[in-house]
């Protein structure tokens, strides 16, 4: 029971998940009132399918953001991994997907090692990877799409075969979420990630290794982005260099709706997944109402703003009073050139213990 509680609690309160579940319930109730056919297994299945993709990416990005870092390369990396998976499909679909995800994880390892060793802020560093990986995606495809061979399409179909409201795809995401969530909550490595994200100065004083958590966070964000890209491209039967254009901002939005905040040190995988469920339920509801993509975009923006206002009002949004130092996310505190002038590094922790 204690273990279960700590799944919810580190850095956040139980009300955090409660509020999100209420919001999720409201979304479902409202759309069901608007059209009673909304609350069906079909819709639930499609929401879970969409969440399987977004959630997978958000898990990795979320861990990076809990560590106080940010990874801007996830969408480009997902595109590269998708192309790799399709091109490697001769090995069999499952090995191809695993291999593509591992290659992405390897890139995450490289990126995390660079960020940790150079002590460079990760926003600045990963913006280059955002471009470079897109370039690699174009290189791999010669600027066109790669198609899955026809004899593999049946196998790809099995990944989204429906079992009640689940599919192998969504079960993979649920599995990853459970493993990462438990690891984050219970393992020493997980604690270290919270520690360096939440209170960096204190974590140094407490002897928390500073590089390992960053590297683990980036390996995870690389792995989940790669896995999501590979799975989605295989399921779609093709990989394209232009794939996933909105994924980066959407995954950051999902992580923020999931209550991680930009400052790190708080949030849980469970919250992030619920955040994704809220977004995808909202989108599914709007589609069910026959609304266009623009309305969906508008609603996603409004949802983010709503969540931020609520958190801000309850003093959890990392708010500051006028004139106070902005609590600096860790990926900004490094390399600022002037970081020493912005108050002690520890003051950034003041904003976000809710």
């Amino acid at each position: 029971m204690k273990a279960l509680g700590s799944l919810v609690r580190p850095g956040g309160s139980a009300s955090q998940i409660g509020g999100r579940l209420i919001l999720l319930a409201i979304v479902w109730i409202v759309f069901t009132i608007l059209n009673s056919s909304f609350a069906s297994e079909d819709i639930l299945f499609s929401v879970l399918q969409a969440t399987a993709f977004l959630g997978l990416v958000a898990i990795g990005e979320g861990v990076a953001m809990i560590a106080g870092e940010i990874d801007l390369s996830v969408a480009s990396l997902a595109a590269v991994a998708g192309i790799l998976a399709v091109e490697l499909s001769g090995l069999g679909l499952i090995p191809a997907i695993i291999l593509a995800a591992l290659i992405a994880a390897l890139f995450g390892l490289f990126q995390g090692a660079c960020v940790a060793a150079l002590k460079i802020n990760s926003l600045v560093f990963t913006i280059g990877s955002l471009f470079a990986l897109r370039g690699v995606a174009y290189l791999l495809t010669n600027s066109s799409a790669v198609q899955l061979p026809a004899n593999q399409l049946d196998g790809a179909e099995e990944l989204i075969q429906r079992f009640w409201i689940f599919s192998p795809y969504s079960l993979i995401t649920i599995g990853v979420a459970i493993v990462v969530g438990l690891g984050l909550a219970l393992s020493r490595w997980g604690r270290e990630i919270y520690a360096i994200g939440g209170a960096r100065a204190e974590s140094v004083a407490a002897g928390v290794p500073q590089r390992r958590p960053i590297i683990i966070a980036f390996v995870l964000s690389g792995f989940t982005a790669g896995l999501a890209g590979a799975l989605s491209s295989i399921v779609a039967g093709s990989g394209s260099a232009k794939a996933f254009p909105d994924l980066l901002l959407l995954s950051i939005t999902a992580v923020l709706v999931g209550g991680v905040g930009l400052y790190g040190g708080r949030g849980t995988i469970l919250n992030i997944i619920v955040g994704c469920l809220i977004i995808e339920s909202l989108v599914a509801g709007l589609i069910h109402q026959g609304q266009t993509g623009e309305i969906q975009e508008l609603a996603t923006g409004a949802l983010l703003i709503l969540v931020i206002i609520v958190e801000f009002a309850s003093g959890m949004g990392g708010g500051r009073r006028e004139g106070e130092t902005i609590p600096m996310p860790r990926w900004l505190r490094f390399s600022s050139g002037l970081s020493g002038l912005r108050g002690s590094p520890g003051d950034s922790s003041s904003g976000k213990d809710g």
């Binding site: 470079a132 993509g293 623009e294 923006g301 006028e322 106070e324 020493g340 912005r342």
Partner: protein, 336 residues
């Protein structure tokens, strides 16, 4: 050391008795030197290795390519300099400005009211976002949410379709040339000059720089910190509007997804210009040169017939290298 570090912001222009003294005492920021060295090395290397590179015609084409990203980068520089990190609503703001401007013209408005209304809308978007940030919200989150909302609204205006204006009396902005180069280049130069003057010579600009360098000192000095957020976000929005309008005059058409990738293109230019993302270090001119640097690199690779994928990969790697160099050097200066 601390005062030294903020000298970008507090060096008073009136310190010097004469212009000559000022020139002699002028010490460029180390980042500027590095940036110019990098650019010079790139130009020299390209000129030596590449036929057709070192010509006036090619230089014009580089600046032409750099101008649109550059204008946005110059506007966005204020957001970074003021310590407000980045704005993620750049693409959507530009798209909305383009759509509303084209819609006004399409509906038969005269050019002047259409321009005024477009800039008014851009400024309003900036003021709203800046105002929310000034209340204490995080700039990244606010602009991320606002970007989605603005993008959605833009889609609603057009129903997802583009807007065609037909020929307008502003056509000269998009089509004619002066001294062999297109008008956006002059707008780019003008915007950079105006931004530099604002930052260095206007009270509000210097306050903005100080807030970015050291929020506590700025607050203690009686500077209205909230105002700098509003100004910074508004100027960034106006930069987007300028680019959007230039685009409409050139293509006589505006589309929703026209500016995809603009945010990160502009941010890359700013970072290659050596700006510190935590604020207080950087300048509009450096961001402009950053945009030109990236455009020069792209041009060089085009001349070598590299494919789009190779160009983008190399550009990304160069951005990583540039920001790493700046980062390592800045850390070294900090330790001194």
């Amino acid at each position: 050391m601390q005062i030294e570090a903020t000298s970008d912001a507090v060096a008073a222009p009136s310190r010097f008795q004469s212009a000559q003294q000022a020139v002699l005492a002028w010490r460029p920021a180390p980042e500027s030197v590095i940036l110019l060295v990098l650019l010079a090395a790139l130009v020299l290397g390209s000129a030596l290795t590449t036929k057709d590179f070192f010509s006036a015609e090619n230089a014009r084409s580089i600046i032409r390519v750099a101008s649109l990203t550059g204008i946005v980068a110059v506007g966005l520089t204020f957001v970074i300099l003021s310590g407000n990190l980045i704005s993620l609503s750049v693409e959507q703001t530009a798209a909305m400005c383009g759509i509303v401007f084209a819609t006004f013209l399409h509906d038969g408005w005269a050019v002047v009211p259409a321009l005024a209304a477009t800039f008014g809308i851009a400024a309003a978007l900036g003021v709203i976002q800046g105002g929310v940030i000034a209340l204490g919200a995080n700039p990244v989150i606010v602009t991320l949410g606002a970007g989605a909302a603005i993008g959605g609204l833009t889609g609603l205006i057009t129903g997802g379709l583009g807007v065609t204006t037909g020929p307008t009396s502003l056509g000269w902005l998009g089509h004619s040339k002066l001294l062999g180069t297109t008008m956006p280049v002059y707008v780019f130069i003008l915007v950079t000059i105006l931004a530099t003057v604002f930052l260095n010579r206007r009270r509000a600009g210097r306050e903005l720089m100080l807030v970015g360098s050291n929020r506590h000192t700025a607050k203690a000095s009686g500077i209205r910190v909230w105002r700098t957020s509003v100004i910074a976000l508004t100027l960034a929005s106006v930069g987007c509007a300028i680019v959007a309008i230039l685009n409409v005059t050139q293509f006589e058409r505006a589309e929703n997804a026209q500016f995809e990738g603009l945010t990160f293109d502009a941010l890359a230019a700013i970072l290659v210009g050596g700006a510190a993302i935590s604020g207080g270090r950087g300048s509009p001119l450096r961001s402009a040169i950053g945009a030109i640097f990236i455009a020069t690199l792209g041009n060089l690779m085009v001349l070598h017939n590299y494919s789009f994928g190779v160009r983008m990969t190399i550009q990304g790697v160069i951005v990583v290298i540039a920001v790493t160099i700046f980062h390592l050097l800045q850390r070294r200066w900090e330790k001194r």
